[in-house]
């Protein structure tokens, strides 16, 4: 339904997209993940016709992106792009008409979409008087009125509370189930993990990995991650080296990548003699995969003068604990 093939794009000679290729099938949610500046927005702008690719092809429904493909593509931008003085119903009717939907057909679609998104109580309320969560729903609803077979959702739940976010997730899953091809961008890894059938990780304009969560997990040579909090990180490093564990620092936390699965008591036993404040054991999640593939981890600094830490030296209350 949506296809990028060897797409390149540069701005002022600076490459932003390098041979980007991926596709989104009908009934699939494909998430583009990547740090700021990775090229996600550029890719979406090319898909929506705002920009043109330097080389390569972008197709929607097997047709190269052009004015005609815009009818096939619903776009819910990240910022709330609605008319503040118009009511919810008037906004949806307007965006329906812009896509050529008029008269009774428009009214029926507006009513259907409002019903599906729970907007009926707010039909006659100006957007300016709605809360952020409801505005975001209307922002999505405006993209749904023309019944597009493909959708681009740019951070659709940004700034929403948990409840609203879950509601929108259910809606997006419902759209996928009805056969819509959804291209999603988000900074929320739990959102990507929950919604996506496949994820593409974009870094510096390149697609560095692509696949389902389980396929991406296989690209990481670790079975589990232990997060260790210690005042004596050098001791942790020493132990990790001795055990053959890889060390990473992620979001300020010291993490140990365990090549084989370990029970928690066994992990605690292997840390015997290392003064730690807390230890927690995690399955490899998207945040670990993402950070590893986009070099989001910093390697810990090399050890200072090593001091042997015996089990007896560990202060009370500093033994490994979950």
């Amino acid at each position: 339904m949506i296809e990028f093939k060897a797409v390149k794009k540069s701005f002022d000679g600076k490459p932003v997209l390098l041979d980007l290729s991926f596709h989104v099938e009908p009934g699939e949610i494909y998430t583009l993940l990547g740090p700021n500046g990775a090229g996600k927005t550029t890719a979406i702008n090319i898909l929506t016709g705002l920009l043109t690719a330097d080389t390569g092809t972008v197709r929607v429904h097997r047709e190269a992106v052009a004015e005609t493909t815009r009818r096939q593509l619903g776009v819910a931008p990240q910022e709330i792009s609605l008319y503040q003085d118009l009511t919810c119903r008037e906004n949806l009717a307007f965006f329906g008409e812009v896509f050529g939907i008029r008269g009774a057909h428009r009214d029926r679609r507006v009513a259907e979409v409002m019903g599906a998104l729970g907007l009926d109580p707010w039909a006659g309320t100006p957007i300016a008087e709605l809360s952020g969560g409801w505005r975001r729903r209307v922002n999505l609803a405006a993209a749904l009125v023309p019944e597009p077979p493909a959708l681009v959702l740019d951070e659709p739940t940004a700034g929403l509370d948990i409840e609203s976010r879950h509601h929108l997730w259910r809606l997006i899953e419902g759209l996928r189930a009805s056969g819509v091809a959804v291209l999603l961008t988000t900074h929320l890894l739990d959102e990507a993990e929950r919604l996506s059938q496949r994820i593409g990780i974009l870094d510096a304009g390149r697609l560095v990995a692509e696949g389902s969560i389980s396929e991406l997990r296989q690209r990481i040579s670790a079975a589990q991650v232990a997060e260790i909090v210690s005042d004596d990180e050098d001791s942790v490093r020493d132990r990790a080296r001795r055990e053959g564990w890889r060390l990473r620092r992620y979001a300020g936390r010291l993490c140990v990548w365990l090549p084989d699965r370990l029970d928690f008591p066994l992990l605690v036993q292997r840390l015997e003699g290392v003064p730690v404040t807390s230890v927690s054991l995690h399955e490899i999640g998207l945040e670990h995969i993402y950070a590893e593939l986009t070099a989001g981890f910093e390697e810990p600094s090399p050890p200072r003068d090593r001091a042997t830490v015996s089990a007896a030296a560990a202060a009370p209350g500093r033994s490994p604990a979950r």
């Binding site: 705002l50 815009r70 503040q84």
Partner: protein
Amino acid sequence: MVRHFQETETIAHRVLLEMLRSRRSLVFWVGFPALMLLLFGLIYAGRGELGPSFDRTAPGILIGAALFFSCLGGPVAVIVGERERGTLRRLLTSPLRPGAYFSGIVAAHIAIALGQAVIVFAIAALFGGRYRGSVALGGLILLLSVCSYVGMGFYFGARFSKRTEDVNGPVAAFGVPLLVLGGTFFPAELLPPFLLKVAYFDPIYHMNAALKPVWAQGAGWSEVGLHVLCLLLFAALALALGTRAYGLMLTRERAS
């Protein structure tokens, strides 16, 4: 062609709906010209007859206090608002054609101009004023005036204004001197000769010079034809400049 008209109607309808919802601009666009017409009508009447005074005052007020703010300031506000809200960018990802967006805004302002003309005419009539000229000629002058203003509005909106706060600056700095030079609030005959020569390059001068005699004296094409032709040139130039600035703005908006 049908699609173009439908899209134009969609945009015009939305612009008018937004204007109706925004009571402040509605009050301003109706209240301000009404008040100005009353004031100038009464001032020029002095102790004489009200009717002839309102005949002479109404066209200037329509051009200077009504159309100037609605049709020059209006498109600037529409464009800047669309850019600020991100709706312009959203529309660029839709099948809506940029030409239909442009003509939709022009159509909306023609409708607003007609409404303002009716209000100004009604107030003048209340005080004994009367429209004496050809309706077709008056309509043509009005249409060319609206096109000149809207073209300039697109130009300023697309070139100089990025935020709502920026709207009034270019309109006031550029537009108000043109209003004064154009003989809107006092007869152009009062201008010194060298300023009168400069005024020939001011579209508002030709709007006044064409509409005032048609409205108040029933002048025909032979008397005002030259001013109408000048106005036609200005309207074409303003729309050409506005279209070009609009095209450049869309290119910038797509790349932003």
